[in-house]
């Protein structure tokens, strides 16, 4: 059986890639995809732990399913925001948009 640390190392790498993407990329769509990536890295740790330690209860698995559901909803809302952003600002470059300042 593959030890749990392997899963964790893999998810950490995945999370780091996602984080780097969020911090470095300018395109909002790509930032959004990177966020999804980070979320999936977290899901992976949850599943790994559930498999290794949660022999009786399926709390970890249930939680992952819940996260996936919420992520789906969030993706819908997020993409809608990006579409309206693109329409209003005529750009989806994160460095051009400082609406949060106001």
């Amino acid at each position: 059986m593959i030890p749990v640390s392997w899963y964790l190392i893999f998810s950490a790498v995945l999370f780091a890639i996602g984080l780097t993407g969020v911090l470095t990329r300018r395109n909002v769509l790509i930032i959004f995809m990177c966020v999804e990536l980070m979320m999936n890295a977290v899901n992976l740790t949850l599943v790994a732990f559930a498999r290794s330690f949660g022999t009786v209860h399926f709390a970890g698995d249930a939680f992952v399913i819940f996260v996936v559901t919420v992520a789906a909803a969030e993706a819908a809302v997020g993409l809608a925001i990006i579409v309206s952003l693109a329409r209003q600002q005529e750009s989806i470059d994160a460095d051009q948009i400082d609406l949060l300042k106001e």
Binding site: V22, L23, V28, I31, A94, D95, I97, L100, K101, E102
Partner: protein
Amino acid sequence: MFEAINSIIWSLQSVAFAEPKTDTGLETIKSIIWLIPTLPLAAAFLNGFIALTFLRSKPKSELTATQRGLRYLTSTIGILAIAAALLVSLIVLFFLIGQDKEHKLIQVENIYTWIPSGDFNIKVGFNVDPLTSMMTVVVTTISLLVHIFSTGYMREESGYHRFYTYLPFFTFSMLGLILVNNFLLLYVFWEAVGLSSYLLIGYWFSKKYDWGRLLPSDASKKAFIVNRVGDFGFGLGIMWIFVVMLNHAEGAAKGFDRLNYQNVFQVFEEGSKTGAIDHNTITIIAILLFMGAMGKSAQMPLQVWLPDAMAGPTPVSALIHAATMVTAGVYMVGRVNPIFSLSPEAMTFVAVIGILTAFFGSTVGTTQKDIKAVMAYSTVSQLGYMFFALGVLGWVAAFFHLMTHAFFKGLLFLGCGSIIHSNEETIHEALHKMHLVVKDHNLAEEIEHAIHHDVDPQDMDNMGQLIKKMPLTGWSMVVGAAALAGVPFTAGFWSKDEILGQAFAHGQYPIYIVGLFAALLTAFYSFRMIFSVFFSGDYRLPKAMNRAVARAGGVNAVEFVAQGRKTKPNQVEVIAKESTKNMTFPLVFLGFMSIAAGYVGLPRSIFGGLSVFDSFLEATFEPAFAQVAPKETSAWLTVILLILSGAIALTGVAIAYYMYHQNRDVAPYRARRIAGPLYTISKNKWYFDEAYDLLLVKSGLLFERSLWLFDRYVIDGAVNGTGWVTRQSANYLRKVQTGFVGNYALYITIGLVGVIGLFYLINGI
């Protein structure tokens, strides 16, 4: 109301016909006492209602006929109410005279419980004994005469009805002060008379010029504030009495009034006998209470307000600042005699303050030019006499003098009012005629302004020879001044001699000698006033007017005012007139009283039982006499003292006659040169006002300024500094808020790394 009238009739019958000692008589008297203060209060409310609803403060000329009627109605209501109160007071007085010595105390208790609160129970009630009764009669009599006098004096005032609202209100407060039966109510009425005094001193609150005197609006505030100083002590004294009562009347029943006079006196007497109440506590309480008396009765060093209180209308000065309110302090010490007499130290304190004030007042009175100022310092001085009489344990003598003083000083002040009123009318008339003679409008204006500004109707330098023009005022004032001076066989002679005799009998020889010297000065200044106003030289008012006009550069060469009927075509004739009958009647009546009042209290060692005043008032001072028995000089010594004080008075009159009748143009100035600095000190009232200005006002302002600087730089500095630091730091920190999503993500990441790093740092890797 009907019930009240009925009970008056009943009591009249019971006094006149029925056995005076029956219980029904006592019950009837008890049932009418409440009328004494309530009638003036009702008048005050009624007049206040009329004044506020129908009249406001329109000048007399703008009123309709109905309004004029209402205006006179207010004074009628006032006079009737006071007359009724006087009647009831007289009934009570005669009832008390008819009682045995043991029954000379009527207590009307539990009219209602004002404050029912655990150990703190205050019940409203009356405490009527000979002292109370004598005071109510004096107050209502003087008040009635002043009400009558004011119908003439205030005739042209636009605030006539306002005046007749305040005056009964004052009478109510004063009667309440006299009648109540516990210390808290005494304090309430003590403040109420202070309030009415304030309102009446400031009656002409809009006056902008008063010939160099303190303006009414300022004078009223000064009176109120100086009284606060004394009342601070008075309040503390009452609180201390309450504390003592809490500690020493533990077994008291529920609802026991711990500030009721009789309860307090009983506890103090027993506590002092058994030693349960510390002697020093009693002394301090007595001195604290006396502080209140020092404020209200203008004793040194709190006397400064009284002379300035003369800014009020003269009838007010007569009623409040001479005859009644200022004697409240004397009354209070007499009322609380069971406590005061327990502490010889406190009595010495009272005597020393009294004699100092008597001396102070008489020295200042000799040099003042303002006729009302002379009278004011005379009042200060005579109040000093009353206090040192109390201090040397001449309890009855003090109140005998209080009574005679009320009559003759009331007379002198009303007389001053009559003179001032006449002078004002004369000036007014002269100006009216002047406008007819002087055709040039600007010149006329100039003359009017000069006369209004320069000719002070109260300045004795502008008076002389008035006796021919105002005989009734003049001769009654001569009687009053004789009583004040202590000229033999006037009321003041008997009462002042009784005070001096008491000082002598109790072995207080230094006080006796200073008192005698003050009596000499008193005789001098009172006849200085009489001679310069009524007799010497010529009528000076026209001259004063001419001088004022000349100084203003109006009609230089021409004498613009002439005397008598010798007028040239461009001159104005001036004739002083006697005041109207409603003003002279009170004067004549008081003139009669200024002699007659002395014959109720003739020296007992000579006349024995004839001295009804002594035997009547003794019942009140039983507790004090239980401590120290009353002393009297022997018959022969009394005669010698009488002759001595009579001679002193006549000497004073003779000096005044020489200086102000025979040589008015020379002698006063020569005397001034001889006296040198003494004159300056006296003229400047011993520099009391200046000293207070320096010690309290200026240094107070300095202290205040330093507090202001502290506030400005330290407190404001701290507050503004906080703001400055916040703004400066925000200036840098706000740059963090860029609005770019990437930056925020970076901060979150840094935070995350920080948290995780911290976690490992603490737990180890």
